[in-house]
């Protein structure tokens, strides 16, 4: 007997580390060539082999608990059933639901998700992408995009299927799933106006992100549409989507001395920063100033006061992004579509009619 270092058959109770059985083992048992087994195991080529034999091979594969080795398969075919998910910061409550639902959707399709959090990282994004590319990932979900993003350009150039989520880029050639920011701002602004506010301040986000940019322009647009006069001195864009930036921004507005009764912010964290700035000055929300957020982060309904904000369909964002990516992977020629999901205004305690209202 030739050397037989494994016990592929009847290895039931053996104490040996039973190394996963492979296509050759099956071939040996079935008395056929490995290539035949391979053809049976691949649904696309199964029809090449006689039905009876195919059935037998499948049965054996099942019996020995065969699982394709993705490394070997990937090496040969360049398809790894692996996708990368890049996010700027997992501890930002916006991302976990996106990541989770995207991962779940991918998993259901037989893919695995490699997580890359670029915030907590010494390597640059480019380095990370190179790393993923070296691993022959099939595609990439990017939540990190800036409006002009070299990383995205690089992916497009290298032909890596990419889908952007949450944020998008300026040049319109890459598929994306984003929130409908125009609608969101419209809802928030209309809400404040309906409450009777006329002197409304705005605290936006970085203009380098599509969300910061879109929300800012949506504000200008919708104010005009409503015939609302905006005080330029009361419209500013913060340098980051963070509590600290929001606090700074509102402090700036308060110091400017221009009167206002409401602040529309482009992000929940900015809104929370506003809470801090108000609290430090003994001002009350909503009695003195109404505040709206954007995102509906978890637990903002429990804050003091509960935050009026725009609920983004985070789960759907992740699911749709994953589905879109799968579609692109399957057929790279698919046209780059951009999905915009409608947000929902959630009215809570942080908004009320202005003090001087009738």
């Amino acid at each position: 007997m030739p050397l037989c270092n494994r016990a592929p058959i009847d290895g039931g109770d053996e104490k040996t580390v039973k190394t996963r059985s492979n296509i050759k083992d099956i071939a040996r048992i079935a008395g056929v060539h490995p290539s035949t087994v391979s053809r049976v195991l691949n649904p696309a080529t199964r029809s090449m082999v006689s039905e009876a034999l195919a059935e037998q091979v499948l049965r054996i594969a099942n019996e020995v608990g065969y699982r394709r080795n993705p490394l070997a398969s990937g090496l040969r075919t360049r398809k790894t059933f692996t996708v990368g998910i890049m996010i700027p910061d997992l501890t930002n409550p916006v991302f976990p639901p996106i990541v989770r639902s995207a991962e779940g959707t991918l998993e259901d399709a037989g893919y695995i998700a490699i997580l890359a959090d670029t915030g907590s990282r010494e390597h640059g994004e480019g380095e990370i992408i190179e790393n993923l590319r070296a691993r022959d990932i099939d595609g990439l979900i990017l939540a990190t995009a800036t409006r002009r993003d070299p990383v995205v350009d690089a992916c497009v150039e290298q032909g890596i299927p990419v889908v952007l989520v949450n944020r998008t880029v300026s040049r319109h050639h890459v598929p994306a799933v984003v929130n409908d920011d125009e609608l969101g701002i419209e809802l928030a602004l209309a809400h404040l106006v309906a409450l009777g506010h006329t002197r409304i301040a705005y605290i936006g986000g970085p203009q380098s992100t599509s969300t910061g940019y879109a929300r800012y322009h949506a504000l200008l647009e919708n104010a005009k549409k409503l015939g609302l006069e905006l005080d330029d001195a009361l419209v500013i864009n913060a340098t980051a989507f963070s509590e600290a930036a929001g606090e700074d921004a509102l402090n700036g507005l308060l110091d400017a001395g221009r009167p206002f009764t409401a602040v529309l912010t482009a992000n929940d964290l900015l809104a929370l920063g506003c809470y801090d700035a108000l609290g430090a000055r003994g001002l009350r929300c909503p009695q003195d100033v109404s505040i709206t957020g954007f995102n509906d982060m978890p637990y903002v309904d429990r804050m003091n006061p509960p935050l009026t904000t725009l609920r983004i369909a985070h789960d759907a964002l992740g699911v749709k992004a994953a589905e879109l990516l799968l579609r692109v992977i399957e057929d790279p020629a698919v046209p780059a579509e951009e999905l915009r999901l409608a947000p929902e205004l959630i009215v809570r305690g942080s908004t009320a009619p202005p003090a001087d209202a009738p």
Copy 2:
């Protein structure tokens, strides 16, 4: 000239999709055998080849931007520089910081992290593990462990390096990084007692998890140590670590009609559920009932009232778990140590002296 389907050298401006250069390309340029290049590229075997040649090969590798193909390498060596991270639910705020810091630590060591959220999933955990195993992952970080966990058993049995994080298992053979729950409960209980509370209720978590189990027993232990009389009817373990379970539990306690002035909970979400139960009955926290949480989830400092709780070193948990796993991967014979990180009591507005205090 033999067929040469690539342009490995001087491929600078070519419009062709420049396929990643490999070890053979380098060998050809350097005029040596691929195996020599391989030896140079592997630090462990570099000393086998003459210094001058090694340098030259490295220079060329650098010039052509060589990157090892992890698939091929992994196929041959069974080492993929990949680890899996399994968590029960990414939208539970406890996990993102753990995942993020673990991932960052792994990345710095040249590993990538595959994320698996078992909650949002139709496949069972076993199936997922099999999937990861098929991909020859080097190790696994599990945040999903129950006290008697077949998945953990399976991993240990199959020799997959495993590190548990946040939760651990009963049988003591697997390395873990957890919070020091005994200390946490001790701090919380001492805090309430110091405020003057004597009739203290407890809402714990599922006894199938190590955290639920340890905190419950720590409570009994510490109460005895402090000479504190616990009313059995006021000590219950909820069926889940969730807001709903917490609300149900506290409603049960209130319905029982036994007097108490404080509730010590085993988890922030349980505590938030208590807020709901109190609010629904018009009771105030902390005036009528003090409440303590466990975890210090993000934003509980902004809730109404801000929650007194135990801050777990989530980042450290992730980092340590990753480091421990790397150590085990490197040397599977390393003894299974269990790290316990000390929590910190964060006193906020949800605790105060009881109403009947002097």
